[in-house]
Every structure is written in C-alpha cells, then in structure tokens.
C-alpha cells in the first residue's frame, strides 16, 4: 500500500481497499490454475463425454460390456454389449430402468420381454455372436450409481458416476 497522506478522501478510501484487492488477485490466479486443471481433467474424461478415464470395459464369460464410467445427467452414453453365440439374451434390471432412459438400441432386438425383473432383450445375432449398442440417458439425481445388467447368463455390476 502506498502512502496516501494528502490524497483526496475518496482515493484514500480506495487505497485502504488495496490489501483486499491483492487477496482477490491471488484468488483469481489460483482460480485460473483451477480452470486449467478442469479443462485438463475434462480432456482426460473426468467429466464424462468421452476420454480415457470415462471408458470402462468388463468381460465375464463370453460376454463383454463397454460402458461410460463417467456420465452426465440428461446426456446419452452408449453401452456396448458383445454376446457370445447361444444364450445371447440381455437382461436389464428394474433399477437400470429407473436410472437410465433407453433412447435407442442398435440393432433393434428381435424381441423384448418385459416383466417384474426388468426387460429381456433378444438381440439379432449371427453364428459368431452379436453386438448390441444401447443408447441410454442417465436420469434422476447426480452421484454414484450402479449399472446392473445380465448378459449371456453373466451378471455385470458396473460403477458409474453421474455429473449434474
């Protein structure tokens, strides 16, 4: 702070606020660093929408599920399920249907059976198995949740973090 002796009263008062302004400048610079960290984290996928941190892949038996570990509320994220030939049904539990809204299924399943234990999807596959991509939108409240489904007789209980 400078010696404000002899300065006009209004400017003396402004000079008295300088320690506060210096703290504001320090906080601003920290916040700029924070913004760079946020952008870098977003590039890595920490906020969903793609990126290495957001992608998950799990194989159980002959079935493989690739999903987005980090998602955003209201945004569509793909769940890619690879099923072996034979018992290739995909079952979506009731809590899946409470937490996600199915937007699209590619290719469309040959049949859908709905019951108290959820949906059972019969994918259109070949002798080598089948691949089904579910475009699902996270609904409800943000926070951690589980993505539970059963593919080819194997249970998948996958962690998902949903950002607001």
């Amino acid at each position: 702070m400078r010696d404000a002796e002899g300065w006009p009263p209004d400017l003396r008062r402004m000079e008295g606020d300088m320690p506060f302004q210096r703290r504001v400048w320090r906080v601003q610079r920290l916040a700029w660093a924070g913004m760079i960290v946020v952008v870098a984290a977003a590039l890595a996928g920490a906020f969903g929408g793609g990126g290495p941190l957001a992608q998950g892949r799990q194989q159980e038996g002959g079935a493989t599920v690739e999903w987005a570990r980090i998602q955003r509320l209201g945004a569509v994220a793909p769940i890619r399920v690879t099923l072996p030939p034979g018992d290739g049904a995909l079952r979506l539990s009731p809590d899946f249907l409470e937490s996600w809204r199915l937007r699209e299924m590619t290719p469309p399943p040959l049949g859908v059976q709905a019951g108290p234990d959820g949906y059972r999807l019969l994918p259109a596959g070949t002798d080598q198995g089948s691949i089904m991509v579910l475009e699902a939108e996270a609904t409800g409240w943000p926070g951690p949740r589980r993505l539970r489904l059963r593919a080819a007789g194997q249970d998948f209980d996958l962690p998902v973090l949903v950002w607001p």
């Binding site: 400078r2 300065w7 400017l11 402004m14 210096r22 504001v24 400048w25 906080v27 700029w32 913004m35």
Partner: protein, 155 residues
Amino acid sequence: MESVLRAAALYLVLLLMFRVTGRRSLRETTPFDLVLLLVVGEATQQALLGEDFSMVNALVVIATLLAIDVGFSLLKQRSAAAERLLDGVPTILVAEGKPIEDRLARARVDLGDILQAARERQGITTLAEIRWAVLEADGMITIIPQRPEAPPAHR
C-alpha cells in the same frame, strides 16, 4: 423444483467464474467479447432449461434468476463486505501522475488502455496530463487530469 435448482446453480457458477476471470476481460466490449458472451449464453441455455421448453419452465427460470439477482443487490446494499466480495473494489493505477507498474500488471491493464480512456473521456493525449487513473469495479477506467496551472499574473 429441478428448474429452480438448475437456475440457482448456474447463476452462482457464472457469478463465480466471471468474478475470478477478472475485470480486464470484459472491460471494453470488443466484437469478439460480444461473440464470446453469446456463446456462453448458448452453452448455458440447455443446462438452464433441460428438455422442458414450456412457458412455465421459462417463467420459473427467469423468476429464479431475477429473484437471486435482487437478493444479491439487497445484500450488497446492506453489507459493504458483500459488495466488495461480489462487485470488487476500485484500484488506483496512476497516482499523482506516476503509473503503479505492479498494479497495472496484476490488473492486466497497460498504459495504452489508460491513454485510450483518457483520450475518449477527457480528450487527454499524454500521460503527463493524467493525475489519477482508477480501474473501477465495473471495469471502466476513470481519469482525473492534472490540475490546470494557475495562469501567470499579468501586470
């Protein structure tokens, strides 16, 4: 309820981000600043409204934003600390004709900006004619010229 929470959260996030970005960035609105503001508005629109484009949702969001804005203005009126925190404080950049270099650097203002403000508002063209320059809380630069010297006495 979700609309109110969305609007309140977005108001606070935008307030915080613009506050920490600093005054300099929006001090003089260049055409690019205008485009940037439009893009920010476009980016926040979806987050504000979600998928509900009804009149009621728009009304709720607008009422929430304005209510928070009025609330903050009342808070600032009653509390000097809140006003300093939310709006910032003026900063003297030129004192008694001498530029204060470290403040100019920290405020991201250069002498060209001060001279531009001096030209535009006072018709002043040289630094020697400036006695005080103040970066106001709203990002404008106020120029106080040197006192005119007393005319020499004529006999």
